[in-house]
Amino acid sequence: MNPNDLLKPLRGMYLAQLRERADSVAAFLRHCQGGRVREDERDVMLRQAHKLAGSGTTYGFPLITQTARALEEALDAGVTEPAQLIPLAESLLHTCEQVLLSVERGAESSLAGVGDPSAPDLRPLLLNADDDPLIRDLIEALFKDDFRVVTAADGEEALRLLAELKPQLLLLDEIMPGMTGIEILGKMRADESLRDIPVIMLTGRTHSGDVVRAVSAGAIDYIAKPFDPAELAAKVRGLLRRSGRTVLIADDDPAIRDLLAYKFRLAGLRVVTAPDGEEALQQAALHRPDLAILDRMMPGLDGVAVLQQLRKNPDTKALPVIFLTAMRQERDILEGFRLGVADYVIKPFLPEEVLARGLRLLGLGTEGA
């Protein structure tokens, strides 16, 4: 048997992981270039390098194993000097990128009908869990050009496929034999590896209580059957484009926090929240958000102080920030822009407006949001 044929079914999984691991190498490299690497950052890199080294050759990429092992050995030996780690991280990152690039090129040419037919399918994966074969067929027909669509006919199968494939999106029927959609959501939220997979719930019921129940169980959207295929398609495309981005929302008013968190989650973004400035800074360091929405007036560190701290840290220096404020004075707004806020929203605000401004800053459209 040819090794390429043997590994074909697994290449997609490996490359998706490789992309994530390459991102963490890039993050580590940035820390090194910033002149200081924390111990926990070195530990994370050591584990990632170990994993890259342990599987590269197996999947046909011996250079990944070689470059990852060099970095792993340096970290394992206790090297902390950024100047020594930078060339090792650079060469590992470069190797990962070369592999990903060559595969992407292969995938493009195979789409054009030439090139390597064994190139993996890198389209986003959509899992559709529904016990109704007609709905399954409809959804498959609707999305098969843009997504790899995998279907599950009951809850058990859905959970198994979720764990196995980690799809980018789950379309979940609320009522299936054996396990309800709400129960599946509950299990997903309890499992760290499944928690962040966005879920759109489909149901025959339109009672407002059901909508609230689905959303509070963790679904980011809800569509009633019979649904309009065009509406569903628009929602799904918008969600997949936005998933993977993280927004930090910091406000001492829980009502505002929850409202904005709900809106942004509904649009498919990952949300982290903080009730004050100190926690906002911790969350920013931990989650590396793509956008921050800060209340101008918070107890302890206020929005201005948080912004100044964010700008001092090389990791968050360029993080776009939207200020929320009750003050309607020109002077405050101008001061905010002088400090480097990307945008300003005056309370009381329309949550849709904050969302639209946020998506614009992220370079994402509002289609289906």
């Binding site: 048997m1 090794p3 079914p9 697994l10 999984m13 490996y14 342990g54 599987s55 197996t58 999947y59």
Partner: protein, 125 residues
Amino acid sequence: MAPELKRILCVDDEEDILQVAKLSLEMVGGFEVALCHGSRCAQEEALSFRPDLILLDVMMPEMDGPTTFLRLREAGIETPVVFMTAKVQPTEVKHYLDLGAIGVVSKPFDPMTLSQQILEMWKAR
């Protein structure tokens, strides 16, 4: 002890390793394979799947391979074990063999020859 190697349980914390091990042991070696994600389910799987051999990763969070190995033996599970490790220093290999493993596979392994390698260890045990 089964004279012929048929059923193999793989224990690793890495999904990409588990999947490629399964594929290569099934497709190239023709074995029956069960997977165990992380060391925690090893004992349970060893009892329910009843493998002829366990392929056990050394470096896992929670509980490492050698500890998992000792727990299995404490529980009266005498299934032959092959360790998988990235650190193939001779002293380390000797340590695993002294512990009672029938062999050590170095990572990254070659999916085309993994089955043969394990079969040889099985025959020589």
